[in-house]
Point group: D2
Chain length 287, copies 4
C-alpha cells in the first residue's frame, strides 16, 4: 500500500464577472484509490460544488469566480492499493468481450486520430504477440521517437502532429500512444495526475498526463513520456483525451499563474512507508 | 403522439471466422420515446446480446458472425411523445448550470474540432441573441453553405473539411453544425435515426444523422441537412460524433450490401394517426 | 517617382562551422524599380556571391559563415516609378491569355492550399465582377476577418489555418489572400519588402509580406494586413509563398537577433521628394 | 541510346463554351532527351499553341475547346542518351554549391510538406552516408511501407497523408519520397512520363509520376512506386509536385475518358534496338 500526500495551489486574476471554472483536481474515488482526507480552500466567498461523473468517476469542482484574485488550495491524502500482475500473464481482450463502457476508448477522439493511423500502426505492431508486451512496445516506440521539449506543442496538437514533429510534452506522448493503441483495437484512455518522481531538472512538480490501456479486463498504467514513476500516480481524471480532463476549463478572461504542487509518500494506515519506485510488474488502480 | 413502425434489413458476406460486430440499430428507450414492440431476426445461429450504455442509453447489439452470408432484420414500433416548445421561449444554459454529463458535449471530438473553430464561430455567431434562434441560425448557415452530394466525403472527413469543401452528406452537415455550436459553448451531440420523410429522389430510405443541442435544459432536435422531418426521427444512438454511433462497427473482413429500410406512421395507442410534418416549434424527445 | 533609402542590419551568433546562409535581402531589379546604389558589409572574411534567379529576379546572397558573431549590413537607394492605373479599368486576365510563367501562380503551394478552398471561395466571390475590384474585395474580406496578432502563428501555419484561427501576422494575411485569389483562378504571389509607413505602435520597422495579383497583364500590389503603405514597398523577393522567399534561410545552428531596419523617402533623381501615401489608384512595379 | 515511340489519345466531351485547357503532354527537350519527330492532331478547328517554360523546359499545349467532343492525339519519337553513373561515386551536393534554380526544389510545396517532416526524416535517414545510396534508401523505405492501391487517394492527398495511409498511386509514392528528401535538404522534384514497362496486370499503359533527385550536380531518376522501368521514362514535365505538372489542367465543365497510351522501343538512329531494362547504375537525362 502506498500513501501519498499532495497539495495543489492555483492562482488566478479574474478580470470580468461571471467567469465559470470547471476544475478536475480532486482525486478520484476508485476501488483501489482511497481518499483518506481532503480539503479545499478558496479565498473568494463563492458557491462551489463537486460533481462526480458517473461514467468516468471524475470529480469536477465547479464555481463562478468574481473579479479580482482567486486562490484555490486543494490538499488530500490518498491511499493506493495497486493491483499488481506479471506482464507476461496479461493478454488483450477480444472485441467480443469488451464491456460497452470500454468500447468508447477504442474509437478515435479529437487528439487521437486512431482511424487515420490504422494501417500505419498495423505495419509497426500488427504482427506482435497480443498482450501487455505489445502495449509496452508501443510505449517504448513512442518514448524512443519523441523528445520531451517544452513549448513545442499547443492546445491544437494531436497525435499525428506529434508523430511527425517527434517532440512534445507528457500530454503529447500520451495522445500518440493512445492513438496507436486504438488503431490496433486496444482500448486506451488519457489519465491525469501529478508527475510523482519526476526529475527536478525538468522543472517544478507539475500536473502529469499518462495512459491507461485496457488489458486482461483491467486498466493498466503506462507512462509514455518516461518522466515519472507510475506507482506514485494519483488519478485525478480520465477520459478520451486531453479535451475531457483539463485540470481547469475556464470560460472567461483570466490570467493564470503556474500551479504550485507538492506530493510526497507518507506512512500508510498500516504504519509502513512505501516510497514508489519503478516496478517491472504491471500496475492498475482499477477494481 | 406519433407512432412509427420501422424495419431494417442488413446483409453481410463474412469471409473469415471471429468477425465481431457492434450494431447500434435498436431504438433507444427514453422518457419520450417508448419502444412498443421490437424483434430481431438473425439467419446465423450465433449468440448475441444487447447492452445499454448507461451514459447515452444507446443499445448496442453485439455478436460474432460466422463465415458466410449473415442477414439481420430488426423491426420495431416506437411511440414518440415530443416535448414541444415555442422557440422564442428557449434560452441557452449558462455554463455554471450545465450538468456534468452534458459538459462532455461542449468539448471537441474527432470529427468536430470546435477548438479550432472558436474564433471563427465567435465572429459569425458571437453577437446574436443567446437562445434557440442562435442554434437555428447556425443550422441555417450550415444548410445554406453546404450542398448535399454523395461520395464527396469519407470516413476521415471532419467538420473543418466540410466547412471548406462545402459539400457532404447528412453526417457531414451534422458534424459541422455540432462543431460550430460547441465553439460558442453550446453543447451539441450527434444523433442517428432514419431519414423519415426524405425526398425519394435522394435515394432509398436510409440511416440518417442529425443534431441535438442542449438548450433550456433539454436536448432539442435539429436537421442541418434539411432532408428529413425531425418529428419523425426515432433515436437509435447519440454520441460525441460519428465515431461513437456508427450503425455498424465491424472488426474483420466483410462485404456489406446497402441496408433496406422502411419507416411509416401508424395509428398510436390512442387510436389516432399522426403523420409527422415540418413544425415551427422546437421538439425534444428528452425527459 | 519615389526614392527610398533603406538599411538592414542582421546579427547572428554561429555555433558550428559550415553554416550555409541564403539571404533574400537585396532589392530586386525590375523595369520600374531601379537600384541606384547599394552596399553590403560583412564582418566575417568569407566568400559571398549574389545570384539572380531568372524566373523571379530574386537576388540571393549566399555565403557560408564561420563560428562566432556574424554581422551583415545591407544598404540601398532605390527608385520606384510605379505604373498607376484606375482600378475600374483593370480586368482579370482570361486563362487563355495568361503567360506560361504566370500560370504557376494560379496553382496551390505549401502555405496556400487554393485547391481545398475552391468551392469556399466560389461561394464568397464567384459572382462578383471580374476585375481589380474583386481582388480588392478579397483583400478587404481577409483584413476584416483577421486580427493582426503576434506569436499566434508559426512556420507551419497555412492559409486554411489562418482562415480558421482568424489571427496572424502579415505573412498569414498574405497567404490567405493568395489562396483565395488562386481558388478563383486569379494568379497571386507572395512578395517581401519592408513595412514602409507601419504604425510604430506595432513595433520597430520590420520585414513585410504582401501580395501581388496578376490583373490586366501586370502584377498589382495589395497589402492585406493593412499595416503599411504599398507605395513605399521596395520589392526584395517574390514567390509562390513564404517557402520561397524567406529573408534568411539558414542551414545550421545559429542564434539570431531581431533585424534592425530603417527606410525613408529621400529626394529623387529629379530633385523632388515624394513621400509615399495611401493611394486609391492601383499600383504596379512591373514593366 | 534508347529510342522510344509513344502516342497519347485523349478524349473529352465539353459542355460549355470558353473551356480552357493546359496540357503538359509534349516530350521535353533536354540535353539528353531529343525529340526526333512529333505530331499533334486535334479534331476541333481551334487555335492552339505550345509554350516552353524557361525554368523547367516543360512544354505546355494551350487551347480553348468548343462544346462537343474533343479528341487530341499526340505522337512522338524520342531518343534518350542517358548519363550513366556508378551509384557509389555520386555524392550529395552541399547547400553552398546548389545552383539558385535548384534551391526551389529543397523547399516545401503543396503536396510535399517537407518542413513538417524534417525531424521525422532526420531520425530515419539523418545518420546515413550522404550520397546516392541515401536517396535510394528513402526510395526503398517508401516502396516498402506503401502499397500501390487505386482509388485510395485523391487530388488533395499529400505526402503526410500517404505516410499515414500507407497506400496510394504513383503520384503519392513520388510526393512522399520527395518530401522526405527535401526534409534532409536534398533537392527533389516531381516528374511525369509514361509508365514504360509496367506490369499489364496493373491496368493499361498510363501516365506515370516519378522522382528526380539532385545529386552530384545532376538530376537522377528514381521510381519509388517500383512499377516501371526508369530507363524507359520520357520526360513530359517536371515541377515542385503534381500541382505544377498535371497532364491536363482544365478550366470548365468537361467529361474525360481514360487516356489511351502506347509506348515502345524502336531501333535508334544508330540502327540498334535497345530495350529498356532495370539497371543498377544511376541514370540521368540531364545535361
Amino acid at each position: 500500500m502506498v500513501r501519498l500526500r499532495l497539495s495543489l495551489e492555483l492562482d488566478y486574476e479574474i478580470s470580468q464577472p461571471g467567469c465559470d471554472f470547471v476544475f478536475n483536481i480532486h482525486a478520484a474515488h476508485t476501488e483501489r484509490q482511497r481518499v483518506v482526507d481532503e480539503s479545499l480552500t478558496l479565498n473568494q466567498n463563492v458557491q462551489w460544488r463537486v460533481e462526480t461523473d458517473a461514467a468516468t468517476r471524475n470529480r469536477y469542482l465547479r464555481l463562478q469566480g468574481m473579479p479580482g484574485p482567486m486562490r484555490l488550495v486543494y490538499a488530500a491524502t490518498v491511499e493506493l492499493q495497486h493491483h499488481v500482475e506479471q506482464p507476461q500473464r496479461i493478454g488483450e481482450v477480444p472485441v467480443a468481450q469488451m464491456p460497452a463502457d470500454v468500447m468508447r476508448y477504442v474509437y478515435p477522439s479529437r487528439y487521437c486520430e486512431s482511424d487515420r493511423l490504422h494501417k500505419f500502426a498495423m505495419r509497426e505492431f500488427g504482427q506482435q504477440w497480443q498482450g501487455y508486451s505489445r502495449v509496452q512496445a508501443i510505449r517504448d516506440w513512442v518514448l524512443q521517437r519523441t523528445t520531451f521539449t517544452s513549448n513545442t506543442s499547443n492546445a491544437n496538437t494531436s497525435a499525428i502532429d506529434t508523430l511527425l514533429a517527434t517532440v512534445g510534452v507528457c500530454r503529447d506522448f500520451a495522445h500518440l500512444m493512445i492513438a496507436l493503441c486504438r488503431a490496433i483495437n486496444i482500448p486506451a484512455r488519457f489519465t491525469t495526475g501529478i508527475d510523482y518522481g519526476a526529475d527536478p531538472a525538468l522543472g517544478p512538480t507539475d500536473f502529469h498526463a499518462y495512459v491507461e490501456a485496457y488489458l486482461g479486463g483491467r486498466w493498466y498504467l503506462f507512462d509514455p513520456s518516461g518522466t515519472a514513476i507510475p506507482m506514485g500516480f494519483v488519478r485525478l481524471g480520465t477520459g478520451r483525451d486531453a479535451a475531457d480532463v483539463a485540470f481547469a476549463t475556464i470560460f472567461g478572461a483570466v490570467i493564470s499563474s503556474a500551479p504550485r504542487i507538492t506530493i510526497e509518500a507518507v506512512p500508510g494506515s498500516d504504519g509502513q512507508l512505501v516510497v514508489p519506485y519503478h516496478r517491472t510488474e504491471a500496475l492498475s488502480t482499477d477494481g
